[in-house]
């Protein structure tokens, strides 16, 4: 028997879940949508109606990776199998958490509307994160030094 793909979405209270849900369903067709929220998140009725399931992770806003319960929650998700994991933020903590969950596909839905695929493995995540951070650091140095020493 074929199940609809399981799409998991890391989100917090500020996210417009009905809109995200409608776009995700439009893009993926029939899916089983799970919103991963922090322990103290109180979803509104319209948010509840927008997804198929609300899953609470152990730590408040995913902030404490060291909490064993959170790792346990992530490992539980890994055992269940996640087809697509959608992230809305690009923090190292979330990325490591995503790597522990190890979905088949991991995508970053950016605030400007662009989707970027992300590596799902831990080593790939760390390597990719470091590569872009280095590029970003170089850009920052170039910009600040141009502003400081440029002849305007």
């Amino acid at each position: 028997m074929n199940h609809p793909p399981r799409v998991h979405l890391f989100c917090n209270v500020g996210v417009d879940l009905p809109k995200l849900s409608s776009v995700l369903r439009a893009q993926h067709g029939e899916i089983y949508l799970v919103a991963l929220v922090g322990r103290d998140c109180k979803p509104k009725e319209k948010d509840r109606a927008a997804v198929d399931e609300f899953r609470r992770l152990a730590a408040r806003r995913f902030g404490l990776l060291s909490v064993p319960l959170l790792i346990w929650s992530a490992l539980q998700l890994r055992r269940e199998g996640v087809d697509t994991l959608v992230m809305l933020f690009d923090s190292l903590k979330l990325r490591v958490l995503a790597a522990i969950i190890h979905p088949a596909r991991c995508v970053w839905w950016r605030a400007d509307g662009y989707n970027l695929p992300l590596p799902a493995s831990l080593s790939g995540t760390l390597a990719e994160f470091a590569r872009f951070r280095l590029r970003g650091f170089r850009n920052l140095v170039r910009i600040y030094s141009t502003i400081r020493f440029g002849k305007y």
């Binding site: 950016r110 989707n115 970003g136 850009n139 920052l140 305007y152």
Partner: protein, 411 residues
């Protein structure tokens, strides 16, 4: 005349005042017999946030150019626009809304007569083109103090830049090398190239005058038919009068805190009024302060009709101030702060009152005057409506200002 409009962030249905302004300008010029064509840069169709531009509902010809984050580079964008605009053989090019890329494309079309419209403070404030910093009008100006403005911009975006994968606006900042002295020179050079620059208010004009002798102040407008005039509501004994603050009230620069402070002053001396604000912050509700949330156009028109007067207490240099025009078109007196375009729209003591920005006591005094004198308020409402019909109806705005500017541009 064949007029090619070039826009770099076009949206339809409109996501702000700029695309709406462009639409009405093009429709107006088309109605005057000009041949108009919109060439616009479109976001990647896979973008999940922005809706597809609904070109079918525009009613004039368009050409869409697709770009992604990687391809929205100055050389590429210039080349692509030239490829589609040149065969159309325009008499004049109208540069519309855009951020850092606009000077690059202006330079690429330097052999054409060009007219430029600024919708906010794009050439002065690379951070967010609002010229609003630390809760006040920013004293700096990119044309005069580039290093200060670039420091401010980079300090605002450094967290995004350091990720190595910046968002659209920051990516454009990096890709167009807007932080370099060469870009600053390019911007000043292209400002001088325009045959005419159109801005919303005198404040903007005064800042551009040193760089171009042909800066014109042309306000936006409304279709008067969309805002039916309604006489002042008749209140039963004990019924509260309504003070309306419409627009994006939750944006701090719109001055809702000043409105609330003024209401607090008035609430100590009277209880015959309530302030309705188009805010989502329901936790702010009191007996006399009612956040009513966001509503569609028809509902907003109804709110104007139910109100006794409207307040626009903006604290940033509001480029135009459409809300004040809408209130006046509906026959309501407008009490506005002395910023940007608002002070041009409202004639003090004739169509409304003007108070000093951020001065809640002054605002309270203005509201008190009109609450206490309904005849004066009604007369101001009628005068406001007449002013909108004469000055701010789109057809009038276009017919009165644009043909002369465009003819001058191609001469």
């Amino acid at each position: 005349m064949r007029i090619a409009f070039i826009d770099y962030v076009f949206s339809w249905p409109p996501l702000g005042g700029a695309p709406a302004d462009l639409y009405y300008t093009m429709k107006g010029l088309q109605a005057l017999g000009h041949d108009v064509h919109l060439f616009f840069a479109a976001h990647d169709p896979r973008n999940w946030l922005l809706s597809e531009v609904q070109v079918d509902t525009l009613g004039f010809p368009t050409t869409r150019l697709d770009f992604s984050l990687d391809t929205f580079q100055p050389a590429r964008v210039a080349e692509d626009f030239r490829r589609v605009v040149e065969p159309w053989k325009p008499d004049v090019i109208f540069q519309c809304f855009g951020f850092f890329i606009k000077p690059w494309i202006t330079k690429a079309f330097q052999d054409y007569p060009q007219v430029c419209r600024y919708y906010a403070y794009e050439p002065f404030c690379p951070r967010d083109y609002r010229l609003y910093r630390n809760y006040a009008t920013c004293p700096y100006n990119f044309l005069k103090t580039p290093q200060e403005c670039l420091r401010c911009t980079t300090n605002t975006f450094w967290r995004v830049i350091r990720t190595g994968r910046p968002t659209i606006y920051v990516s454009e900042y990096e890709d167009t090398r807007a932080y370099t002295p060469e870009y600053h020179e390019l911007l000043i050079e292209t400002l001088g190239m325009y045959r005419a620059i159109i801005v919303y208010n005198r404040f903007t004009k005064s800042m551009l005058d040193p760089y171009n002798p042909n800066v014109h102040v042309i306000g936006g407008g409304v279709h008067v038919s969309d805002f039916a005039f309604s006489p002042m509501p008749t209140r039963a004994a004990g019924e509260k009068k309504v003070v309306l603050m419409s627009g994006r009230a939750d944006d701090f620069s719109k001055g809702m805190h000043t409105m609330k402070a003024a209401g607090k002053i008035l609430s100590r001396e009277r209880d015959d009024f309530e302030i309705r604000v188009t805010s989502m912050q329901t936790n702010l509700e009191t007996d006399w302060f009612k956040p009513i949330g966001w509503h569609n156009h028809d509902a907003v028109v109804q709110f104007y009709h139910e109100s006794d007067l409207c307040v626009v207490p903006s604290e940033w240099e509001e480029p135009f101030g459409l809300v004040a025009v809408e209130a006046m078109a509906s026959g309501r007196p407008a009490i506005v702060s002395d910023v940007g375009g608002l002070q041009d729209i409202v004639v003090h003591s004739e169509t409304g009152l003007i108070f000093k920005r951020g001065e809640s006591a002054q605002l309270a005094d203005c509201v008190r005057q009109l609450l206490d004198d309904p005849k004066r308020a009604a007369a101001m409402g009628r005068a406001g409506r007449a002013r909108v019909e004469q000055e701010y109806d789109w057809d009038t705005v276009i017919r009165r200002h644009y043909p002369g500017i465009l003819e001058e541009a191609v001469r």
